[in-house]
């Protein structure tokens, strides 16, 4: 027991305490100045907006992919199912380089998103791809098809059945996937750093901003914005935990 406490304190708690302590170094006004610095605000705003956008896009496409993996049968389905987890396993810098090779200035298809906000969007879509698929898939597998058959036999069309029967059952799982994707997107760094060009006020996300402040010798400013990111991560985790409890309660009924 004391081993667990000591390990967690040394690895997780102490460094984060040092971070919070440093952010308070410059006093309340110093902290406030650091997080309301226009460049910091622009970076935080971009991070939040793009993170929400990728979570929603992946909510739609993640549900579609989960659907064809569970309900459809086609050649190569096993391989498709296996590569879904690739963004989890692939190092983020490799993910960034990978996207840059195809959607960068020397790409073979003539689409060049490098150094634009679209690049940030593409990178985050890539790294958060598996979350919604992997939360929706097991629920869809367990879903009783009799309800859908009943709905169809009572004359409801496929859309109506999806809207009133399938979707309400999948909704908690989709929401969990969205929360996980959002939490991941807010902190992402490696996949964005090469492809976004890190232009302040344009493509600079919060993690890249913090990295820049460390490099330019302003650890207090970096720490202040880090505390904001830390707070968002904590809130996202609490949300994910609450969703999980809600879903298990939901299951028991």
């Amino acid at each position: 027991m004391s081993f667990v406490t000591a390990y967690l304190s040394l690895i997780v708690l102490l460094p984060l305490a040092a971070l919070v302590w440093k952010s308070a170094d410059a006093g309340r006004t110093g902290f406030w100045d650091a997080v309301t610095d226009p460049q910091a605000v622009a970076a935080l705003k971009l991070t939040l907006v793009v993170s929400v956008a990728v979570s929603l896009i992946n909510a739609v496409f993640g549900t579609i992919v989960a659907w064809i993996l569970v309900r459809d049968r086609f050649w190569g389905q096993g391989v498709v199912n296996a590569i879904i987890d690739l963004p989890f396993a692939l190092p983020t810098i490799v993910a960034g380089l990978t996207l840059l090779a195809l959607y960068g200035p020397n790409g073979p298809v003539g689409i060049d998103v490098a150094f634009s906000r679209a690049a940030v969007l593409v990178a985050l879509l890539f790294v958060t791809l598996p979350f919604v698929i992997r939360t929706v898939q097991p629920v869809l597998l367990e879903l009783d098809r009799e309800m859908e058959e009943a709905s169809a036999s009572l004359g409801a069309g496929p859309l109506r059945t999806f809207r009133y029967i399938v979707f309400p059952n999948l909704f908690p799982a989709i929401l969990s996937g969205v929360a996980l994707a959002f939490a991941r997107a807010v902190g992402e760094f490696g996949s964005i750093v090469l492809i976004s060009g890190n232009l302040p006020f344009k493509t600079e996300v919060a993690s890249v901003f913090i990295f820049g402040r460390i490099e330019s010798g302003d650890p207090a400013g970096a720490a202040a914005v880090s505390v904001v990111i830390l707070a968002i991560s904590f809130a996202a985790l609490l949300g994910i935990g609450a969703l999980r409890r809600w879903r298990t309660r939901h299951d028991r009924v």
Partner: protein, 263 residues
């Protein structure tokens, strides 16, 4: 009709976002033949980067495996105050930005940090050296073994363990002979995830490494460094190695997963 529409939509999304880019990197790596790619991954800098990456993983993965098993046992089998906090702290590395993690360690162990001054005075260099790189890697790969083992421990219950101890087994014997065999697939799965995360870490290591080529550069840092230096073959070749490791991870995961489900 709608069935085909969904199939086309879903598969094209995966093709555009996932299959095409990854496939292209493989192609780019061997664009000029096998020779240049092989030369690029056998330069002294690349070899040292691979060595350092494996060394860091060789320390971080066993540490987190032992911690993961003990922590999962503590969470499931014991009641103690602050269990909620332990749970939250274990999950935090999943959600926290790696750059923030790197900064936290930098602040703690750099010269002006809480521990940094004392350690530097005693000749121990933590930041911009191996120790900090190992510590941040332990941080980011901490949750995986715990999160895989906890549900299995819940599921197997305590009956067999109680039977073993009534028959006179010591706690260690009970663990070795009863608990460990029951959780071994979950541990293996967790170890695979931990290893993949440890080998692939970039942001946190980047902050605390100092980027000294041939000294504190891991594989992922080597990819970035090569790319920034316009050595595209070097960057793609190193990426190819990391991608191969990632794909082996997926293969191992699919080998361990079914056994876990049919236990």
């Amino acid at each position: 009709m709608s069935r085909w529409l969904l199939r086309v939509l879903g598969l094209s999304y995966l093709a555009v976002l996932l299959a095409a880019p990854v496939g292209l990197v493989f192609w780019r790596t061997f664009e000029h033949g096998f020779g240049p790619a092989w030369d690029a991954v056998t330069t002294p800098a690349a070899k040292h980067a691979l060595y350092l990456t494996l060394l860091i993983a060789a320390i971080a993965v066993p540490a987190n495996t032992i911690f993961g098993i003990v922590c999962a046992l503590a969470i499931v089998r014991y009641r103690f105050r602050g269990k909620g906090i332990v749970n939250a702290l274990v999950d935090l590395p999943l959600a926290l930005s790696p750059v923030v993690v790197g900064l936290a360690y930098f602040l703690l162990y750099s010269r002006n940090g809480w521990f940094g001054g004392w350690l530097t005075d005693h000749g121990i260099q933590v930041v911009f050296a191996l120790p900090a790189m190992v510590l941040v890697t332990i941080f980011v790969s901490l949750p995986f073994v715990v999160r895989e083992v906890v549900p299995v421990l819940h599921e197997i219950g305590t009956e067999q363990e109680q039977a073993a101890s009534t028959l006179g087994a010591s706690p260690w014997q009970t663990f070795r002979k009863v608990t460990l065999p029951a959780i071994r697939w979950a541990v293996a799965y967790g170890v695979v995830l931990t290893t993949a995360r440890a080998l692939g870490e970039f942001g946190a290591v980047s902050v605390v490494s100092g980027h000294v080529v041939g000294k504190t550069e891991t594989m992922t840092l080597h990819v970035e460094e090569s790319y920034q230096a316009f050595d595209y073959t070097g960057a793609y070749a190193a990426s190819f190695v990391l991608a191969l490791i990632a794909i082996s991870t997926l293969v191992l995961m699919s080998l361990f997963k079914p056994k876990e489900e049919t236990r």
